[in-house]
Amino acid sequence: MTMTRDEATARARARQDLCGTVKTLLVDRLSLDVEPAVIGDDQPLFGRGLELDSIDTLELAMAIEEEFGVAITDDDTVSLLSINRLADHVEANR
């Protein structure tokens, strides 16, 4: 099935908006000293990258659940590795 150009544009924009919302959420909830816009969609959030630590995983999971109503459990912690993975998880589960 093919998408029209308008559909593809709308979908890309929705995805961009979702990633932007996740970035803002991340910066607000973890009190990060960075601008949400400078976080890359595929930038690693932990270790090198954004330098989150293991304790931040819980706050991030709680923030995603409160904002989108999507739970992150022990089975899908890989979803916490980047903005794109978080967005995939939210899109697949909400």
């Binding site: 293991s54 304790i55 995983t57 819980l58 706050e59 999971a61 709680m62 659940e65 992150i72 459990t73 022990d74 912690t77």
Partner: protein
């Protein structure tokens, strides 16, 4: 399931499903759930308990508490950080009893002399499960706590991920809230 212990006083409150009666735990029973001992065993009594979910407890502050000799001479005042620790210890009671209940044994380990006949597991497993205070996200100390005050503590267990558990807690004296805190605590990953 009904929580029963050697000193249980069953109150009228029940869990959300209406089947679980809250229990009161005495200090000796709390001590079977925690690894903490004097001078760092801080809770006097648990007054309400829903294993794995929430609890309420009482802590009496007294001038004979050694910590008040140094905090401060001539101006005795219960340390705010110890109120945070009270919340953390009560959280350990919540998830320790929750884990025991999930494992199908009585939420509170029986006393050592009755453990064999009760067959409910030794007294060490719950205390051994207690992990670490991982994060103090937020703490507010709204009023000082003095000798003679009875501090009422309330803890609600929140989200879990891996060995991390989010906890919200509150301490009050009379009608006044004296402290609120949001913590992250851990269970020891090798003990579950």
């Amino acid at each position: 399931m009904t929580v029963t212990t050697s000193r249980t006083t069953t109150t009228g409150s029940t869990g959300a499903d209406g089947t679980r009666a809250a229990a009161v735990l005495g200090a000796d029973e709390i001590a079977r759930l925690l690894p903490h001992r004097y001078p760092f065993f801080l809770l006097d009594r648990v007054t309400a308990l829903e294993p794995g979910v929430s609890a309420e407890a009482v802590k009496n502050v007294t001038a004979s508490d050694g910590v008040l000799a140094g905090h401060f001479p001539g101006r005795m005042l219960y340390p705010g950080v110890l109120l945070v620790e009270c919340v953390a210890q009560l959280a350990a009671v919540v998830y320790g009893t929750g884990a025991r209940e999930a494992a199908g044994v009585s939420p509170v380990p029986p006393a050592a002399d009755t453990a064999a006949e009760a067959g409910g597991g030794g007294e060490d497993d719950a205390a051994a499960r207690v992990g670490y205070l991982a994060e103090i996200k937020q703490a507010k100390f709204l009023a000082p706590v003095y000798p003679g005050d009875q501090v009422r503590l309330r803890v609600q267990s929140g989200a879990r991920l891996g060995s991390l558990i989010a906890v919200t807690g509150q301490a009050s004296v009379g009608r006044d809230v004296v402290m609120t805190a949001r913590l992250t605590v851990t269970e020891r990953p090798d003990a579950s």
